[in-house]
């Protein structure tokens, strides 16, 4: 169905000019006479000619799109509002640059497959443990990458927060409030990581921060309960149910706000009160409407996205001399309403 696409040839024939002239009319009008440009554009309009973007990109060796590579299925990834916020600010920078943003989930459960076939000019990852095989493909394909909250790998430009210090602050707040029966809700380990590599992933960096805080109080990590879950509300809900049913804790420390919110709900549903019975502290500081009352560690999603995108574009446009930079976003503590000093009773 539908007649064949109108090509540059058709316009050339129709006007009596060459393909080259037609191409110039669109891309460098100054290269040919005004009259020629007019005639060509007119014919193009008459025949409804649109230069095929695929052919064009192929010719020019670019796509005008950058990829947002997420480590899990998009259904999980987009369930995290913090990630969406970061993506939003990335998309905004893309728009400024006339680029589109393509979501790249693992293809057939494989990040490598996805990266092999993605038609983009560069990639921003978030929360991805960059295994060597992925980096290799990027290199082969000459694709630039910027990593957000990724591995602390020196040869990959990255944007992140000082996870260890931020986590230390987070745990210290809880300890300062007198809590000792503490549960931590961690995030998934690098699902696709290669055991041979010794780069350190976000969860480990934060765990280190927890240890540091605990040791200031002469406590061990082993004295607290650690569970792990996806960065979604419902996972946080379930995680908190687990925690509640496995003992009596006075504080929950979550590596993610959305998880903390899920936990909060679960606690309320169990008939417990926050912060009277259980204190909660999150991590992210979503600028979100619903989470203003959550005590948390704030790191700007907007800054992260913007910095990463700008960095990527300056690499793509060759404006960047240094091969790899690591930028750090500041963090801060937000008091919120989900923290309370533990009652001295034991």
């Amino acid at each position: 169905m539908g007649k064949k696409r109108v090509t540059i040839q058709d316009i050339a024939k129709r006007t009596g000019y060459s393909k080259t002239a037609v191409s110039f009319a669109f891309n460098s009008p100054s290269r040919i006479s005004k009259k020629a440009v007019e005639k060509i554009l007119e014919a193009a309009k008459e025949l409804d000619y649109i230069p095929d973007p695929t052919a064009r990109n192929f010719s020019l060796g670019r796509h005008m799109a950058i990829g947002f590579l997420v480590p899990q299925s998009t259904a999980v990834a987009l369930a995290n509002p913090y990630l969406v916020s970061v993506m939003r600010s990335i998309a905004a920078i893309c728009e400024e640059n006339g680029y589109m943003l393509t979501l790249i989930p693992p293809l057939h459960s494989s990040v490598t497959e996805a990266v092999k076939s993605a038609t983009v000019d560069g990639i921003i990852t978030m929360g991805l443990y960059m295994e060597r095989s992925v980096v290799d493909i990027l290199r082969r394909r000459n694709l630039s990458i910027v990593s957000i909250d990724g591995t602390n790998d020196e040869d990959i430009p990255s944007v992140s927060v000082d996870d260890r210090a931020a986590a230390e602050l987070q745990m210290r707040k809880i300890l300062e409030y007198g809590h000792r029966r503490i549960a931590v809700i961690s995030l998934p380990q690098a699902a696709y990581s290669d055991q041979n590599e010794r780069r350190i992933y976000l969860t480990e960096r934060r765990m280190k921060g927890y240890c540091d805080a605990l040791s200031q109080y002469s406590l061990q990590l082993s004295s607290i309960k650690v569970v792990q879950c996806n960065a979604t509300f419902s996972s946080g809900y379930k995680a908190a149910e687990d925690i509640i049913s496995s003992g009596s804790f006075t504080a929950i420390v979550s590596m993610s706000d959305i998880v903390a919110l899920g936990a909060w709900r679960a606690i309320r549903d169990k008939g417990l009160r926050v912060p009277d019975d259980v204190s909660i502290i999150g991590f992210d500081g979503m600028d979100d409407y619903s989470s203003k009352e959550l005590s948390t560690i704030v790191q700007s999603a907007d800054d992260k996205g913007r910095m990463a995108a700008n960095m990527l574009f300056s690499i793509i446009n060759g404006e960047d001399a240094e091969p790899a930079r690591s930028l750090c976003v500041p963090f801060s503590f937000r008091e919120g309403k989900t923290l309370r000093a533990v009652l001295k009773k034991d």
Copy 2:
């Protein structure tokens, strides 16, 4: 920097086979001898050969990506959690089909420009008034499209809710509760609409529903206040501030949940109580954690996204005989906690 890309030629030379053989080794291994396949794949591995996806797509005339076309800048669009939910379920279906999802915002403020240059195999729009010029480009480019919450255009496959009836129900609830001093927060009119066209946009369909409900109570649309804002929390907040300062209303009817939530916050910040002083009813029924208490009209984001994506894929894969279908998602009323009968005092 970086050596030239390894191409299919290099593998051909290296192995002594032809380009054709190499191509077959990757795409139809059964087409050549097992031995040949082995040798070729081995050489490919040694040389780190990855078939260039751009060239491949160009050759095959496809992209393995579909586009999500939003009428506003992504920074605005992604600020609406309901839209993100829809996108999430679209992305999930894409993944199942091995496709990626590309976000298409207006390029240089032009939807037409964006649609001209998007390298995708099909498009799903949401809340977009489909002007003729856009439809024309899609046709020229042979791009299939499915519209969510779009214009009621018969020749475009679409998924939506019965907006008129849903809005009527929404307004009727408010009226049943005795409210008469009512403010409506509407959504942006079709920013890119062509005045000559007579297709009806979502806001108008809903407005019709409001009229119908009002007339059952012998009221006119002119008797209520109508303001308009973007589908974001902060816009909703501002809209409610306007409403509050412009008179005394007992109920706010919003065309979007996120807007309703913003309004709710604004009302609280003004020292008024919900629902004691002001009732609020939203529209969307976000499955979201934070909005369970909002009284609203529920329409499943997941269904919308899934149905639209499945429809698009069946069109792309040529499984769809009928040229255009319009699917309807059911809606329902959720009581919530933001409605209260108005006190008889006047």
